[in-house]
């Protein structure tokens, strides 16, 4: 039926359900007419590839070094920076580049999706309508440059409805927050997770600015004040946020992203040489009924 490990199939056949829900979340489920039927999960271990973060070759390769051929081909964001000084020297970084690390994004997407699909398979085996309280994690494994993707949640059946014919709906939410989402006229469709990864190879101006030479001839400061914006890095930072947002939007297909969570991780190899990774998670939800706004809530002062 699936590529689930044998142990998983055995666990899911057993009678009692286990669930990651807290007591209040469990109570809320029952309130919503959702019956928890079991804890479901999926795993996937991906090898990052030689060039990705932590990968064996990523640290020392430079696009203009002897090994040369790393310059990414046409796919993805690339922006070049040219030295304005007209100096030729081995120490002077005449050229720099921001580029999208598409392989990192691909590894992440594949790992997450595989783990997620396996979780859905387990849920389907249980005859579940949906999975609530989803949690996802990515665990780097030792020095081998591998990541373990883990996605899990509590599978639920909607009481008094016929058996499901399509894939389960999923959401990071659980408990009262999920109940309010339903009451507000939304139905959860799926969890959304997107990642963007950009590498900054600093050129001379960026390197000097990051080492604190603002205001010197090297940084072309025409203004008398010594504060200069570090343009190359700002561009990369802005790009990483825009990109991850547009990747998430592409998955929405007209639905809304609710309760989003954006995490940024920056890694500096040396002054100005950075890697910026952005992960955006959220709940894809859809309106199923018109909704009259609530009246303005009555404020109270609590005597504790």
């Amino acid at each position: 039926m699936s590529d689930l490990p044998e142990a998983a199939e055995r666990r899911l056949v057993g009678g009692t359900f286990s669930s990651g829900l807290s007591v209040s979340d469990f109570a809320a489920c029952l309130e919503m007419g959702l019956e928890p039927v079991g804890l479901v999960q999926g795993y996937c271990v991906m090898h990052e590839g030689a060039y990705a973060m932590g990968g064996v070759l990523s640290r020392n390769i430079s696009p203009f070094g002897a090994s040369g051929s790393l310059s990414p081909s046409g796919s993805g964001y690339v922006q070049n920076y040219q030295c304005p000084h007209g100096m030729i020297s081995t120490e002077h970084r005449a050229w720099g580049q921001n580029y999208e690390q598409t392989w990192v994004q691909d590894v992440w997407n594949q790992g997450f999706t595989s783990a997620f699909q396996r979780m859905l398979e387990e849920a389907t085996t249980l005859g579940a309508d949906g999975v609530v309280g989803v949690i996802d994690s990515q665990l780097p494994l030792g020095d081998v440059g591998a990541i373990e993707f883990h996605v899990w949640g509590t599978a639920v059946k909607v009481l008094d409805t016929p058996a499901p014919t399509s894939a389960p709906w999923t959401t990071y939410l659980a408990g009262q927050r999920l109940a309010k989402v339903f009451e507000a006229g939304y139905v959860p469709v799926s969890v959304i997770a997107a990642v963007s990864s950009v590498r900054v190879w600093a050129y001379c101006v960026t390197e000097y600015l990051m080492e604190g030479f603002a205001g010197s001839m090297w940084t072309n400061s025409s203004n008398s004040s010594n504060a200069i914006e570090i343009d190359q890095i700002v561009t990369a930072q802005s790009w990483s946020r825009q990109k991850v947002r547009s990747l998430a939007r592409a998955q929405l297909r007209g639905d809304a992203l609710h309760g989003a969570d954006l995490r940024l991780a920056e890694r500096e190899f040396q002054k100005g040489d950075l890697q910026i990774e952005a992960i955006l998670r959220g709940n894809r939800i859809r309106r199923f009924k018109d909704f009259d706004p609530l009246p303005i809530p009555q404020p109270t002062v609590r005597l504790s």
Binding site: S22, S24, Q176, P299, R302
Partner: protein, 265 residues
């Protein structure tokens, strides 16, 4: 209490001028801001006062538990200075009082025997124009939050001032003979008990004296803090803080509160 006529640094002047012209600043949350307005007060400006004080330790006798009076004075004066400057800023703004007062101590690496004492709060003014200055003719100060200020006023009481008492106490080191004698037994350490008891009492009594000076009928929100600052574990400052209040009206507008149980965690 030091009687200092305006000794605020020059930089303060410009900032207060802008506030006097009508801009208000406040570190109150939106909730507190709305509750202050409910009881007829308006925030005027964020006010602060600070002083850097030498807090070096005087010589002390190892075998005795006693108050280090010079240090007590220093701790008290340092905070008084900070509070007074904060009150001066409030007076400058024509405020009736300061709410949400916070007292903080900052230590800096370049000042091992010194500390910076800071008092900050939001100065407020009554919208009906009736003065609310306290018995000493100064703006009232209080460490009550916006919520507590609102609740207090419902009871017909009004804050008069933040009162404090402090006591720096040195606790005798027990002799080696004594230490060995009681090892392994569950014994109360009478030295410590007595010392801590006395120190706390001193701090609280001094705080109450301040309240009496303000003609207050009571003190609310009393709390006792213990700090070793940078002196090591045998020397402790006991600081007792509270807000002195007086009854100003017999009218109690407290409606019967509704009881609720919230379903969130």
């Amino acid at each position: 209490m030091s009687d200092v006529t305006n000794d605020l640094p020059e930089a303060t002047g410009r900032r207060l001028e802008e506030l006097e012209k009508g801009l208000f600043t406040s570190d109150l949350s939106v909730n507190e801001f709305l509750l202050i307005k409910e009881v007829g007060f308006h925030p005027v400006g964020f006010v602060m006062g600070s002083s850097i004080y030498h807090t070096g330790i005087q010589t002390r006798k190892w075998g005795q538990s006693l108050e280090l009076t010079k240090l007590t004075e220093a701790m008290y004066n340092a905070r008084e200075l900070a509070m007074t400057r904060m009150e001066e800023e409030a007076s400058e703004l024509g405020a009736d009082g300061v709410v949400g007062v916070r007292l903080d101590v900052n230590y800096y690496e370049w000042g091992k025997d010194a500390a910076e004492f800071i008092a900050v709060g939001t100065a407020v003014k009554a919208e009906d124009g009736v003065s609310r200055l306290n018995k000493l003719g100064k703006p009232f100060t209080s460490d009550l939050s916006g919520q507590d200020f609102w609740t207090l006023l419902q009871t017909g009481y009004f804050p008069q001032g933040l009162v404090m008492g402090t006591c720096v106490y040195h606790i005798a080191h027990r002799g080696i003979g004594q230490t060995l004698g009681t090892t392994g037994q569950n014994v109360e350490l009478p030295n410590f008990t007595q010392a801590l008891y006395e120190a706390r009492e001193l701090a609280m009594t001094r705080m109450q004296d301040e309240a009496t000076q303000l003609g207050a009928t009571g003190i609310v929100g009393v709390r006792l803090e213990e700090k070793s600052h940078q002196w090591g574990s045998h020397t402790i400052e006991f600081l007792s803080l509270g807000t002195a209040v007086s009854k100003t009206s017999d009218e109690v507008t407290l409606a019967k509160p509704t009881t609720i149980i919230t379903l969130d965690n």
